[in-house]
Symmetry: D2
Subunit: 341 residues, 4 copies
């Protein structure tokens, strides 16, 4: 069975499995005091420069929530798109762990603008009102769209102007990098991002995400926050070794290039079918499509995927590192066949 | 390098690696909607009966804290040994996530008694005072000692008498089962335990712990608690497959039998050296020893291990599934050599 | 100095001061075990029937947040108007103390509709998504508008249909009762409200609010929640005696009738001035007006009041129990004079 | 009815009632932007110097918990006596609001020593362990004993040595000042206290406590913490005016001198009765006595007071500003009469 359900339906890339097997010999210091972790951190410094701090955690919710925790006190608020993962798909973990309010901005494409944010930064220094402290964006977004470097910089400028931080949920950051054809650094650190969740699981890892601090002083208490947040892995080498492999031989890029390419094939193929409507730019590895409702279950039987918006009859198609071009071709053919009936 | 540092310094058992490799093909439903998870849960039902609920999480802190969360409201207190992992080694995760106070009981051997607990259940229904709701014990304890079935039952009787729950931190539960020569069920469910953290990582897994609810209604909101607690693994099959393997072909028992045996060898050997003093019964896979302070760093150079109590010059020696008998023999010989100087 | 700033700028009604003085003799049991508290609770039972539970707290934020706490677990969400006091004027107390997310609904008049709420109750039983559990409305609203009995019932019907609770922030509930010309009971308990914050401070008390539970079982742990929430007053008789007085001789009604009347005078007077625009129905004791920006500071010099929306040049005028009709007359005259310049 | 139950059974001192009445005219800015608050703060500056920050809150739990909040992050621990009010009488408010663990020290007289504290500051910088950040002491203590200036300085020295803060719960601080015959400043700010809960309610106020920060930068976010903590009073003048009166004409001192004097009378009288045993030094306004169990209910019928330790048959006798010397005389006579039977 192959699916277009989610990039966490796929398994682990062979090079990652290999790295896990290689890391599995002998004793190693626990909780990160091991060579694999040191080397994985070096890989990140190779991408972003030496003046960063990197921490590994289990999952995306952990990465986002703990990264936001490092930036906030409990009377703060965090501005994000209404569709942000932290707002709709992480239960109340953000509120519960940070104590902060999430202030949401409407967005048709999953992205928020500097202008929108600026208007929502209100009642500064008013004790009665949650104090805006972080702008959080997803790159690529939950709608598969990608912020340009300029858009990130504009958000960072608003953040700096009002003494806020800019946080990036990069659970699919590799797809964004490939889409932009930029180095990670250009649209994160160099564009003014302060803290980044760097995704691994959705790009071929078994488990594991990284949190990258671009201002080391922001990380000064982070080891305590991670432990308290129940995200400190004891046999840490088995996350670190995966990241070392992901950042070696451009594995991250090969995987993301593949999935972005497939998403574009889907996009292109589906746009040629008049009965369906692609609703977003396919800039990452996901494609959003409005389809005739009656064909959705028939398609799902053969190629499982998720409904995105039942009322609109909009679905989400997500490609993984192990999705094959022929599956995309078959899928498009099946859609054509079904709409023709 | 082999060490007596911790059972999380060792790697992953080959049968577990095998299970991970076998689980790594094709797409599988995420977040637990996969066959591996169904099968792993069946394995647990084989151990404990059908009327249980099982959830997998990332690590021991997650298992303990979320299990306790399911049993408490934020105005409650949790009674435990002063040396309990939840009290001294999980940062403030228990307080932070449950809101509860931990009320600690002194213990020389890591175990608490029904009588001690009974005396601390005070000021029931007094709104000013944290309301006792859970007794939490570690099996085996942080000192390598093991509660007998009768001791667990006595604690359960106190719990029931006062409308409290009995929680067991079983991060090393397999060692306890082997030590007691009892089935898991006899000293947990059948002895009155309500919620159990069933350890995997310290017994040969890469990562992953299970939470077992012996009263299914206690688990009714647990899926939300786990997600909110940032402990929901997306590619769940890779925890489940490990547990399926651990509970197949008695792997859990082979590993624990091996480590317990080595601990007894250490215990026996060290007790013959008059200059050192074994301070606890070696009922699990750890041995606690007071040594002449000057030999500790010399020993650690060759066989890394942790100091337990600097003031007493007491150290902890922990055996892992991959520790070899010859290493134990060498270690004892080295101690003899050093104390003789 | 008299102002139209806020109903908490005014002092304490003489009958309340009297009650405080009379309560001040002899010793009395602390924390509510006193006769004043028993009598105040009887007064509430007189209003709502015997099958209620009543608790006194210090302030409106305490009343709202703790009442919501009694209805929720930390993975829940609370639906409210974007302009709700709990959303914009209680810092992050609601998130921090309940752990819940506030899901906000846009509203031009401070009221939300059953239909709006129904559309936002989404992804029930989906572990990834905050689970809707409470609808919270303000009566009268932050815009001085009042829900009809039918509107409350419609919201209650949606709540019941989806197994949610209906919470009412009644910090100005007396104004609503007078405006509706209904008993408290008709638009709260009988209309399906589950928990009510019954306001005192804004209607002439020195301090103190009541939380009324219309389903007693919802209050079963509330004494612990109140203490933990730091809202348990030790010399409780001094809140209770105020409430006893407020609910005696229709003091609540006399005060609210007076302030509503003044608000209507303001409304009527200002609506006759073409250069200003009253933006909301003056159903309570507040009036919202768009004014020429240049006259605002001149007016504020003489009659302090708050700007509501700087961009719209909209201000809020709030009447208190001690506001005098002649002050309203003078105010309107001053507006006329200033717009004429 | 007069009692020896608690200093919160008594009412409000006439000079405080007077101040409340005087404050009750005209409108005043809410939330502390009023002249009463400014004058009350000046009174505090008169006691402690200008370089302080003062905030008013509702009650003692609020004062303690929010003061501790200002000093901690959620991965910290707070060291205190096992008998501390924050540990046994504030539900789980401290854990819930700060997220911190309370690490308790045994104490026979309610006081902890610098040496005890020093031994409990463990595992600094170890991510697994709650990080000690605050020493909290009660002055006078829950056992009516008082720290000398030297004892406070010794605790402060330990705090400074390890980068901790020293917090003082001064709900009965006036009694301590009278007992020590020192200015407030000598045993707080000048002795190294960082944050002080300055009690009002137990010394004749209707309600209200103050939090005094001796390092102003520690208070920089405190207005947000107070609001979020639901302890911001809207008609603030009615707390401030009470404090202004308490700190005028030595009212605080007259009240505390009176209650301390009565406690000493009790102490002296009871020590002459061989059948009872005074267990603590009566340095404040409370006296602790072991009595023949059969006389306790007979005494309580006439003079209500609380049992302190049922097992020991130890009771607590607490004097209030309105307790009369003749009541103490009668009480002692009654004890003599009852033990003689």
């Amino acid at each position: 069975m192959k699916t277009f359900a989610s990039d966490n339906y796929s398994g682990v890339h062979p090079e990652i499995m290999d790295a896990l097997a290689k890391a599995n010999h002998d004793h190693a210091g626990s909780y990160g005091s091991d060579d694999y972790t040191a080397r994985a951190i070096e890989k990140f410094k190779g991408l972003f420069g030496d003046d960063i701090e990197v921490f590994f955690v289990y999952n995306g919710t952990g990465a986002n929530v703990l990264g936001l925790s490092a930036l906030t006190q409990s009377f703060h608020s965090i501005l994000c798109a209404e569709s942000a993962h932290i707002n709709v798909d992480e239960s109340t973990a953000p509120e519960n762990f940070t104590g902060c309010k999430l202030v949401t901005l409407p967005s048709a494409d999953g992205k928020i603008t500097a202008q929108q944010v600026e208007q929502k930064i209100q009642r500064i220094d008013d004790q009665h009102h949650p104090q805006a402290k972080v702008i959080s964006i997803s790159q690529s977004s939950e709608y598969g769209t990608v912020y340009t470097v300029e858009e990130v910089k504009a958000l960072s400028a608003v953040a700096k102007k009002h003494n806020l931080y800019l946080h990036m949920d990069g659970s699919r950051i590799s797809n964004a990098a490939v889409s932009l054809n930029k180095s990670f650094r250009e649209f994160t650190k160099d564009a003014g991002v302060d803290v980044l969740s760097f995704g691994g699981t959705k790009n071929g890892l078994m488990f594991g995400e990284a949190i990258v601090f671009f201002q080391p002083e922001l990380a000064k208490n982070f080891k305590f926050i991670r432990k308290q947040g129940m995200q400190l892995n004891s046999k840490m080498r088995f996350i670190s070794a995966q990241f070392e492999a992901l950042l070696s031989n451009d594995l991250w890029k090969r995987n993301a290039t593949h999935t972005n390419h497939l998403a574009q094939l889907l996009d292109k193929g589906l746009r040629q079918i008049p009965q369906v409507k692609v609703t977003q730019k396919a800039e990452g590895n996901g494609v959003f499509v409005i389809m005739p409702p009656q064909i959705i279950p028939l398609l799902q039987n053969e190629f499982p995927f998720y409904s995105w918006n039942d009322q609109l009859s909009e679905v989400r198609l997500m490609c993984s590192w192990d999705t094959k071009e022929e599956e995309v071709v078959k899928f498009i053919a099946k859609v054509k066949e079904l709409v023709a009936k």
